[in-house]
């Protein structure tokens, strides 16, 4: 789509004849470790504060310092906050990637760049804005050591001028970012932003069409990353034991949780913690601790990503077979192996669904937004205890680590469900119990917790064969009964896990099925297909596994159903294949993207149009 040809009919100098308001994307290209995070967050926040729907996505390398990083901000008056493939405004701060970044732009884009890079010589079809960053920063920041850190704020000022972002909002965003305690740092950054603004005012003639205009679409909303949302969700779900091992992109989930817990979960009467957080020695230990804690009655969890999931596999099978609850947050990144640790994918679906050897099946939740990260956390903890099994919350790097505009979270109204736990009094009344007997027909037995003071309370938990009284058994009938009960239990979960979100469009012949962060691209693609190609498409967002029965109805209703996968092997589609009839499978088609960036609508639309033969 990028082209070097300049159309002579469209000279780029002088004021542009039309303007594009609240609908553009900015890409800031810097080097990792150059302190651009503040400037990018402030820029995103300023637009958000002006009431315009906005999203920010960080594309960063897996190292600490020096490699290229891109941050894209998308403003969309229509509320599309998925990634946009096309870049309208480039801020080129990284000499290493500047040329390639410029060459990739579509005709008519704007480029703010570091003057010495002379990027304007590369193309004639772009709007170039040279800024002498080093000179400007030297003037506002006498301390040479700090210059690197505040230099980036200059482009915030320049962009504020070029795009008409109100400087008051920039200032307020800065204060928010630094808090009252770091007033000096905020001041230094503010000076830089102002210098950028003034420079642009005096020296740059605006020729591009992009601008911001105040709206009222973000009132009351919050900005939060999915990991923090999961952390809040777990805390309000009443988590008591957290065991983890650091891995990108899940680390910040537990780090943020630890901060929240310290603040909100110290018992007011005793000043003591109502929780335990343990940084384990590895993922074998973190899942073992979570299961041990769940077995002993805690609401327990761990968080990890691909390599950790692989390591946990043996223990997950134990959790499934011995029936111990725990919640596992899997913040997916790009595999296999170490893969691309800082890029996003939905590549662990198949692995997770049947993690561990032997016949195993595990429920998964697929939140698509911070709100769902929060609400589904409570659901996951309840499900884990109700069904006495490991439960996965599947997010990805895009959701987990990027900042999202979100509705404030609803307070959980449903009381915490601790599942079927017998007390000493219950046992006295019942005269005993059989741990793995299906008394209620839902496949779930009653359990007791260690420390229950009744002589008939104890049972022996094991990963080896057992009968319904939890006694060691290698008998064929005991084994089969047990496995069949577990399978029935999984079936019963279908109606307990989160129901799908279904959008039916009139006269739609085709439909989409997607999970998690694919949502943004798919919803935007539905609009693109309708307005650009006259193809109405329905949409079924799967919110949990095992699949709900409505899935079949949806597929039946449409002639062709596009299953969107952010992985190479069409894993979501493959999961459906495992349980659907041939007649329904025949209707499924696959749209896949697995390059590691957040999925964008254009990729989806183009692929569907191609497959539809239009």
């Amino acid at each position: 789509m990028s082209t070097l040809e300049v159309s002579p009919a469209e000279p780029l100098s002088g004021n542009s004849r039309h303007s594009i308001t609240n609908d553009f994307s900015i890409q800031v290209a810097t080097a990792n470790g150059s302190g651009s995070q503040t400037a990018n967050t402030v820029l995103m926040r300023s637009i958000f504060q002006m009431g315009i729907p906005v999203s920010g996505k960080n594309m960063f390398p897996s190292n600490i310092s020096g490699l290229p990083t891109w941050f894209t901000i998308r403003a969309s008056k229509k509320g599309y906050i998925g990634r946009r493939k096309e870049i309208d405004i480039l801020v080129a701060m990284n000499p290493e990637t500047a040329r390639e970044d410029v060459m990739k732009l579509g005709s008519g884009a704007a480029v703010v760049y570091d003057e010495p890079l002379k990027l304007n010589e590369l193309r004639g079809d772009l709007h170039f804005y040279p800024v002498p960053f080093d000179k400007l920063v030297a003037a506002v920041c006498p301390e040479a050591k700090l210059r690197k850190l505040v230099k980036n704020m200059l482009y915030d000022g320049v962009l504020a001028k070029l795009l008409s972002i109100e400087m008051d909002e920039v200032r307020q965003a800065l204060v928010k970012q630094f808090g009252q305690k770091k007033a000096k740092a905020a001041e230094l950054n503010w000076n830089a932003a102002q210098a950028g603004y003034e420079f642009a005012e005096k020296n740059l003639l605006k020729t591009d069409p992009y601008r911001v205009e105040r709206m009222n679409a973000t009132a009351g909303k919050i900005i939060i990353d999915g990991n923090s949302a999961c952390a809040l969700g777990a805390m309000f779900a009443g988590v008591t034991v957290v065991a983890w091992y650091p891995i990108t992109p899940s680390s910040t989930l537990v780090e943020s949780l630890a901060v929240y817990l310290k603040r909100f979960r110290m018992d007011p009467e005793t000043g003591k913690a109502t929780y335990a957080v343990v940084q384990a020695e590895d993922e074998l230990a973190s899942i073992g601790m979570a299961l041990g804690a769940g077995w002993a009655g805690a609401r327990s969890m761990t968080a990890t990503s691909g390599p950790g999931i692989s390591l946990m596999s043996e223990f997950i099978g134990l959790g499934y077979y011995a029936e111990a609850p725990a919640v596992i947050y899997n913040v997916e990144r790009v595999g296999p192996a170490t893969g691309l640790p800082t890029r996003t994918q939905q590549g662990d679906l198949l692995t997770t669904a049947i993690l561990s050897h032997g016949d195993t099946q595990h429920p998964m939740y697929f939140p698509c937004s911070p709100e769902e990260c929060f609400t589904m956390s409570s659901e996951a903890f309840d499900l884990a205890e109700r069904f006495q099994t490991p439960v996965f919350v599947m997010t990805d790097l895009d959701l987990g680590m990027n900042n999202w505009m979100a509705d404030p979270f609803p307070y959980p109204e449903k009381p915490i469900d601790r599942g079927k736990v017998l007390t000493a009094e219950d046992i006295e009344r019942l005269g005993g119990f059989a741990r793995y007997r299906d008394v209620d027909g839902d496949g779930v037995g009653y359990r007791t917790l260690p420390g229950t003071r009744h002589p008939s309370a104890a049972y022996f938990t094991r990963g080896s064969g057992h009968n319904d009284k939890a006694q060691y058994s290698e008998r064929e009938d005991d084994y089969i009964n047990n496995l069949d009960r577990l399978s029935h239990k999984f079936d019963v979960m279908r109606s307990h896990v989160a129901a799908p979100e279904i959008h039916l469009r009139e006269k739609a012949e085709i439909g989409f099925i997607a999970i998690g962060t694919s949502d943004y691209a798919v919803r935007e693609s539905c609009d693109q297909l309708e307005t650009e190609h006259g193809i109405p498409a329905s949409y079924f967002r799967v919110r949990a596994y095992p699949f709900n029965d409505q899935l079949k109805d949806f597929i039946r209703r449409h002639s062709r159903v596009y299953v969107v996968d952010q992985n190479r092997d069409a894993q979501l589609l493959s999961l459906m294949r495992l349980e659907l009839d041939a007649e329904l499978i025949a209707k499924l088609r696959s749209v896949r993207y697995y390059g590691g960036l957040p999925l964008d609508a254009r990729t989806v639309t183009d692929e569907v149009v191609k497959q539809e033969g239009k």
Binding site: G220, I224, M235, V241, W295, R453, F460
Partner: protein, 344 residues
């Protein structure tokens, strides 16, 4: 007409029967069976509430044994080498539980060495019994990582690698009670187990426990006869529980009392060497010396009654986290509103 004899009971009014488990399925004569018997006796005699005990194990013949003692206690037989994680999680969930882990030398010193070391490093409050036979019993006799260099397998093949000494590892990296004993030494093992019950931190007990089926032949350094010949008790031990009168008969010889956390006393009588079990450095050198001399030192190698445990460090509530009511674990509406407000 004579009245039926009243059964003997402990201070909780429980009979020894209440401390037994199901019938063992291990080989007759296996050292692990003797250890199970000692556990039954000690928990009974100490008057430990079996309903407050949680048993943990990995995989192996040794790890099966928790089914054969303390039938009134919950048990968790986990995965190979990863018992420490399960135990840690469970004990964090309910700090009132008395944790008793039983493992093998394969379970601990090979596949589980990482988790073992980290359990040690955390001084996780529990009793950790290694039933050490120098082989993998359950998989039929392969050498384990505690097999001595030169010790031979049944086939005659000699072990070429040096052993891990689990006591040395535990001692060096943070366990607060470290002992070695022998499944065939009933009295010493009892005393060591009782001391472990009275101890508040991590008690690592390496019990040489011969495998009669795969490692009890001539040429093995973990056979009954080899240990009988090479065992070198550090001292003679007595244990006086807190609920008994401490001033009972003191015989000849030099006596030293170590006061345990619960008020019990470990009474140490010198045999023929000076040994101070509260000095970690000396304990380390004693182990090294014994290795050079080809001796198997047994007894309480080290005890530290003051080091805080992992649970103490976490500053958790006194009540078990597992059963805290919703009012303690779900913050208020106002808390959520606070959190939301600062994200606006």
């Amino acid at each position: 007409m004579s009245a039926a004899p009243t059964p003997k009971v402990n201070r909780l009014g429980l009979e020894v029967l209440n401390y037994k488990g199901s019938k063992t399925t291990l080989c007759a004569g296996c050292g692990h069976n003797s250890i199970s018997e000692r556990i039954v006796e000690c928990f009974y005699e100490m008057g430990v509430d079996p309903m407050m005990v949680a048993k943990f194990s990995g995989i192996g013949c040794s790890s099966k044994s928790p089914a054969y003692f303390l039938g009134l206690s919950h048990g968790f037989n986990g995965v190979h080498g990863r018992m420490p994680a399960i135990a840690t999680g469970a004990l964090l969930a309910n700090r009132n539980l008395i944790g008793l882990g039983v493992t093998g030398d394969g379970d601990t010193a090979s596949i589980g060495i990482g988790q073992f070391m980290h359990l040690v490093r955390r001084n996780m409050p529990m009793i950790y019994v290694i039933e050490d036979n120098g082989v993998y019993g359950l998989t039929k006799g392969q050498f384990s990582a505690t097999a001595d260099m030169g010790s031979t397998a049944k086939s005659g093949a000699a072990n070429a690698l040096p052993p891990f000494d689990c006591c040395a590892l535990a001692l060096r990296w943070g366990a607060t009670l470290v002992a070695r004993s022998f499944s065939g030494d009933k009295k010493q093992l009892q005393t060591v187990l009782k001391t472990a019950i009275a101890h508040k931190g991590l008690a690592v007990i390496d019990v040489i426990s011969p495998c009669v089926t795969f490692n009890d032949h001539a040429g093995s350094t973990k056979s009954y006869s080899y240990i009988k010949d090479h065992e070198e008790p550090l001292h003679e031990l007595d244990f006086v529980p807190f609920f008994e009168d401490i001033s009972v008969e003191i015989g000849e010889g030099e006596i030293r009392d170590v006061r345990m956390h619960d008020g019990s006393s470990l009474r140490i009588r010198k045999i023929d060497r000076e040994y101070d079990p509260t000095d970690r450095g000396k304990a380390m050198s004693a182990l090294e010396q014994a290795e050079r001399d080809g001796e198997v030192l047994t007894g309480v190698l080290y005890v530290n009654t003051s080091q805080p445990t992992f649970i103490e460090q976490l500053e958790m509530m006194d009540e078990p986290l597992a059963t805290l009511p919703e009012s303690k674990v779900r913050p208020s509406r106002a808390a959520l509103e606070d959190a939301m407000e600062e994200l606006r």
